[in-house]
Amino acid sequence: MSANAAPILSVDHVGVRFGGLVAIADLHFDVREGEILSLIGPNGAGKTTAFNVVTGFLKPTQGEVRLRGTSLSGLSPNRINRLGLARTFQRTSVFPNDTVTDNVLIGLHREDRGASLLEAIFNLPRERAGEAARREKARALIDWVGLSARANERAGALSYGEQRLVGVALALATEPSMLLLDEPVSGMNASETQNFVRLIRSVRDRGVTILLVEHDMPMVMEVSDRIVALNHGKLIADGTPDEIRADPAVIEAYLGKSAAAREAEREAAHA
């Protein structure tokens, strides 16, 4: 990952206010093509808000977000998705009453735009060919995330961890160039988390840039190329996992001032 790779996503001095409450003050960072970037920060730091701004669910009160130089200002979430940005959700990552296959097929609904509504209603050859191609794609994606044994089960009946995998398959079905994961491993056990880390890496290996919001610090440290830390809606640090781990501002944000001070004293003693 070269440090000067072109940014795929630029968050340019974004601010979000809800009335008098400042959720994000002045957030400014880039995501580079092909990297795994994590957004961390204590509860209420503005991570989810930042996520919702990037994906178009919230309009920023100032600044703008650009995807490969294209401004996302004023675009609806479905338009942003079509530009190549996909996301997963923290709690409700699936369509619970549909089977796993149908879930992924919903993500593939934009495929093969050639067949029109009328062709679909009358089940004409083009529609049938498109449908076969979509089913094949869905099957491949489901295999890839390891859910082939669950393909025909109701997504809502799957375990928490499995639903997250469905969410990822669903997001990948839209063939994004960038994937945003909102706390994907919260509530997962250690082995599920390990599987998910492997999944994130192989998604990146498919050429998809990843922006991750997560509370599980060991997981973040393991998987990230770079980390951006937020507190009180402001960026407080930006660097590699090692740099972030040693950053006094980050330690202070998570552990409080006295702890940071103690850490500094210990560092001084070692030196």
């Binding site: 994906t55 669910f57 609806s76 979430p77 479905n78 998705n81 079509r82 996909a86 996301r87 959700f89 409700t92 990552s93 699936v94 369509f95 619970p96 009453n97 549909d98 149908d102 097929l105 919903i106 993500g107 593939l108 609904h109 934009r110 495929e111 509504l117 679909a120 209603i121 009358f122 089940n123 529609e127 498109g130 449908e131 979509r134 794609k137 491949a140 994606l141 295999d143 890839w144 995330v145 390891g146 859910l147 044994a149 669950r150 089960e153 961890g161 499995e162 995998l165 969410g167 669903l170 997001a171 079905a173 839209t174 599987n195 492997r198 999944l199 192989s202 498919r206």
Partner: protein, 345 residues
């Protein structure tokens, strides 16, 4: 098993006029059938997108008036000396105009209200139906107002090789109703199993997630509303040419309620739902008639509805589905997921 059920029911319904000669019963079946078509169209919106159109009868009534007026012709003053004069067309052209005009109205109403959705759509559709009723009541020059449009020609259908047939008898109209109902059923079935239908279900189940994977909510719902309204318009057209008289009472709220009852009792979001509901609530008043006074009939009607919703809250069709599914052996639970991740899908 359930795959062969719809064609089997269609065959039984198609054979019914051969044994059922009583014109009164046949009339009841046609009327019930026409409203069942309305219920099938309502199910597309209510069952598959979750949007309740409480003015659905407006699209039905617009179809009825459009078809009748296209066939009868009209001569109306717009402003000053400018008049629109229309000579009567073939009834089948009326049928097509009804479908197109109702569909267009559905599109416009959907377009206006789906930006906000939910309760707003319910309110907009109720208001729309009431406004259309008032127009039908007061635009006397066009609609004859409360005097009703009368002597609407019977439907005529041309068959290649057979020539043109005017649908005079009840049996003929029964088959027209059945053909349109089957067509409406197939259109809705095809639509909901296509990618458009998946987008609709996605919106209903988890709107945020659906939008985030690129589903255009407004467009999807508007298309659903337009198709739903077009089918309701087709039902209205059959109604007009069968009864040959329509007045502004076709826009009454009660008829919408009848369709909602058919959908909800049969099972919304199930293809067979409105058909089952239509068969029950379309024939119930007739079936009860020989045995009890009209007041008692309506009490029984209500009691049956309450009983169905009490015993099967999701409706009859989903209940039967679950029952069939539970009789098959439960599939063994598959082993826990392990990502494969090798290679590119």
């Amino acid at each position: 098993m359930t795959r062969y059920l719809p064609p089997a029911i269609l065959v039984v319904l198609a054979l019914l006029p051969l044994v059922l000669k009583d014109p009164y019963l046949l009339n009841a079946l046609i009327t019930g059938g026409i409203f069942t078509i309305g219920a099938i169209s309502l199910n597309l919106l209510l069952g598959y997108t979750g949007q309740l159109s409480l003015g659905h009868i407006a699209f039905f009534g617009i179809g009825a008036y459009a078809s009748a007026l296209t066939t009868l012709g009209f001569d109306i003053g717009i402003f000053g000396d400018f008049r629109i004069v229309h000579e009567g067309w073939h009834p089948f052209a009326g049928f097509i105009v009804a479908i197109l005009l109702s569909g267009a109205c559905g599109y416009v109403v959907g377009r206006l209200s789906f930006r906000v959705r939910g309760a707003y759509f319910v309110i907009v559709t109720i208001c729309f139906a009431e406004v259309v009723r008032l127009v039908a009541l007061n635009w006397v020059e066009l609609t004859q107002g409360p005097l009703a449009l009368t002597a609407i020609p019977q439907m005529k259908i041309g068959f290649p090789g057979l020539g043109e047939i005017t649908l005079r008898t009840k049996a003929q109209n029964y088959y027209l109703m059945l053909a349109v109902a089957a067509l409406a059923y197939v259109v809705v079935a095809r639509l909901v199993s296509s990618r458009f239908g998946r987008a609709m279900r996605g919106l209903k189940e988890n709107e945020q997630l659906a939008i985030s994977v690129g589903v255009n909510a407004t467009r999807t719902l508007t298309v659903a509303a337009a198709i739903s309204a077009a089918i309701a318009g087709a039902a209205g057209s059959i109604y007009a040419h069968y009864f040959r008289i329509i007045d502004p009472d076709v826009f009454l709220f009660t008829y919408t309620v009848t369709m909602v009852i058919m959908v909800v009792s049969g099972g919304k979001g199930a293809l067979a739902g409105p058909v089952i509901g239509g068969l029950i609530f379309g024939t119930l008043p007739v079936a009860l008639r020989p045995y009890m006074a009209p007041e008692a009939q309506w009490i029984v009607y209500g009691a049956v509805l309450i009983a169905i919703l009490f015993l099967m809250p999701r409706g009859i069709a989903p209940y039967l589905d679950d029952w069939f599914a539970s009789r098959r052996r439960a599939p063994a639970r598959a082993p826990v997921a392990q990502p494969q991740l090798e290679g590119q899908p």
